[in-house]
């Protein structure tokens, strides 16, 4: 079991009112799954992602990542977990401006303390894997949206994480490019990578093999899905 949560609760305090973003979530995700987390805004799916991604700590409840209890780690320990085991892909790519693609991909390795030479080699190899080997020295502004998201995926993959967490990865892309990105995720998943995808679009969720539906801070449905193959028209 790669991810296991038990009675995960997250309460935000906004002024005098308390907001229960997560009201007790029990979820297990196995290695090699492709899960789409769905739900309307305010349903708690983003909060769930942040907890699973070790960006935040639960108010109560427990979370084991690859058998390790993450819920009581310190901030710097969480940073190390994020660095080694989790690859993030964001809606707005979040690449460093005026920084070549290759250096963007190198960033997690920099914080992992990898020396310059192997770092550059690994980053370049990962860019080639997402089909951008020739654009390693382009800056984000010189790349299309789809290409930028591929750089971001290469950055997520470069530390060989246990899991890829993608938060609305196609939200800023046109439908054709979205299809390319989803095809890439499916290809990664076929090679054994665990992918968890947050989206509110059913069109995107249908590429996953399992769909978790969130509402009011709870999982209301957990269904398997026969994925649509994201065949890219030539």
């Amino acid at each position: 079991m790669l991810i296991r949560t038990r009675n995960l609760v997250k309460v935000y305090r906004m002024g005098d009112t308390e907001v229960r973003a997560l009201a007790g979530v029990d979820v297990s995700i196995d290695k090699g799954e492709f899960v789409a987390v769905m739900g309307p805004s305010g349903s708690g799916k983003s909060t769930f992602m942040n907890l699973v991604g070790c960006l935040d700590r639960p108010t109560s409840g427990e979370y084991w990542l690859d058998g390790k209890a993450v819920s009581d780690m310190t901030g710097d320990q969480l940073a190390t977990v994020r660095n080694r085991h989790i690859g993030f892909v964001f809606q707005h790519f979040n690449l460093l401006a005026r920084t070549p693609a290759q250096e963007n991909v190198e960033l997690p390795l920099v914080y992992a303390g990898i020396a310059k030479q192997p770092r550059a080699a690994q980053a370049l190899a990962m860019l080639e894997r997402v089909g951008l080997g020739e654009r390693a020295h382009h800056q984000p502004a010189q790349l299309s949206g789809g290409q930028q998201q591929r750089v971001a995926i290469a950055r997520a993959l470069v530390t060989e994480p246990l899991i890829i967490l993608a938060d609305e990865p196609t939200g800023a892309l046109d439908s054709h490019t979205s299809l390319e990105i989803m095809a890439l995720f499916q290809a990664l998943n076929r090679n054994g990578m665990t992918v968890v995808l947050v989206t509110h679009e059913a069109d995107v969720a249908r590429f996953a093999r399992r769909i978790l539906r969130f509402l009011d801070g709870r999982v209301v449905a957990d269904e398997s899905n026969l994925p649509v193959e994201a065949a890219v028209p030539a």
Binding site: L55, D56, T80, R82, F90, N94, R98, P108, Y111
Partner: protein
């Protein structure tokens, strides 16, 4: 994360906002430049004072004839010729280590060939040069025979040598002082200005016997052995107060003054006067540097301001860095290095600017400036310290951001 790594990140971030970085540095540049200039000017003033002390000779006591009271009217110092050559001899003889020399002063017109020059004439003894620590640059000093027989020989100061002889060699030349022919037997080393800006090299020395009989022409024959002033050099080891006391006691005894009676001479310790002046110039230099460092402080506030803006602007970048594994100290280090890089580059440019400005001041205003490596190191270190101090708060603010909120920041 290595320091080099952090430096590369900092340099890239600064390069993205070149104009802003340059303007932020400007505060530090001006601050460090001002500190460098002020320290250089202050050190220059101090060096001038120290030079004057050296020129005068350290551990020097000046004895001047005292006052007389004529019918209840007290005259000023020097109104009476109470010091004699015998007093000088007594000091040399009775106080161990003392070197005393008389000086009988007058002014005269000096003629050589068809050039002439008005200068000070001092009648003195060979001890004078030792007391004043004044070496002879060329030629020789007075012989004992010349002292007793009133030899018509003269030592000329550097200014007189230049004014009277120009490029010619003054040695063995015949000059006339008040129509009396003298032979120039030596030229003195350059001594420089006195404390009050008086040119000490504009002088001619001759045996005191010659001066009295031939040049300065004493009107009162009764006081034939009187002298104008007495210079006393005390030995290096002597305690100033004690030495002064010895000289005073000796002179009082020789002048047969009753206990309780006023001295008929006055003693002045010139080194002490100048030490006070040196101390005041040091305080002035310190004050100037302190004022200049205020501008450095203002520059530091500028850095803090820009770093706070930068942290806010780059909140999402910080969030991303945290998401991919940056720890608190990585983010803290990144922004701290950025602030220190700003202040360090600003400091180095400021040093260049300060040295340039100090050099300009030296050549245009003619002020003496002294650039010391310590001052440069101090100013740069101060600038870096400012960077650390004012960079820490914004850097800590960045490091303490919540990654979820930072990533969501618009």
């Amino acid at each position: 994360m290595s320091a080099l790594q952090l430096l590369r990140i900092a340099l890239r971030a600064l390069a993205i906002n070149k104009l802003r970085s340059a303007l932020t540095m400007l505060g530090i540049v001006i601050g460090v430049g001002a500190v460098i200039v002020m320290l250089a000017v202050g050190a220059g003033a101090q060096a001038r004072v120290e030079e004057q002390i050296r020129a005068l000779g350290s551990n020097l006591l000046l004895v001047m004839p005292g006052t007389t009271t004529a019918g209840g009217v007290r005259m000023g110092f020097g109104s009476s010729s109470t010091l004699s050559e015998d007093d000088v001899a007594a000091i040399n003889r009775e106080i161990p280590g003392a070197v005393a020399a008389p000086a009988l002063r007058g002014s005269a017109q000096v003629v050589w060939g068809n050039s002439n020059w008005s200068t000070q004439v001092y009648g003195t003894t060979p001890e004078y040069l030792e007391a004043r620590q004044w070496p002879i640059a060329a030629g020789r000093g007075f012989e004992p025979a010349e002292m007793t027989s009133g030899g018509k020989v003269a030592l000329v100061g550097a200014t007189v040598a230049r004014q009277l002889f120009g490029d010619a060699d003054p040695l063995d030349q015949q000059i006339r002082i008040k129509r009396v022919p003298f032979t120039v037997i030596g030229v003195l080393e350059t001594k420089g200005q006195s404390l009050i800006g008086h040119d000490q090299d504009d002088v001619i020395l001759m045996p005191i016997t010659t001066a009295r009989s031939r040049v300065i022409g004493s009107a009162n024959a009764a006081k034939q052995r009187s002298v104008g002033t007495v210079w006393v050099k005390m030995p290096q080891s002597a305690d100033t107060r004690e030495f002064e006391g010895q000289v005073r006691a000796l002179l009082r005894q020789r002048h047969r003054l009753q206990p309780g009676a006023d001295d008929d001479f006055s003693l002045r310790n010139l080194a002490e006067v100048m030490a006070a002046q040196e101390a005041s110039s040091r305080v002035l230099a310190l004050l100037l540097a302190a004022v200049a460092s205020v501008s450095l402080l203002v520059g530091g506030i500028g850095i803090m301001n820009i770093m706070l803006v930068s942290v806010t602007e780059r909140t999402r970048e910080i969030g991303l860095r945290m998401a991919v594994g940056a720890r608190t100290r990585d983010i803290l280090g990144q922004f701290l290095v950025e602030a220190v890089t700003l202040s360090l580059i600003g400091g180095l440019v400021g040093v260049g600017l300060g040295i340039g400005a100090a050099t300009l001041i030296a050549s245009f205003a003619g002020w003496r400036v002294v650039l010391s490596p310590q001052a440069v190191v101090l100013a740069v270190a101060f600038a870096v310290g400012i960077g650390v101090f004012f960079g820490f708060y914004p850097a800590r603010k960045a490091a303490q951001l919540n990654p979820v909120e930072a990533l969501r920041f618009e």
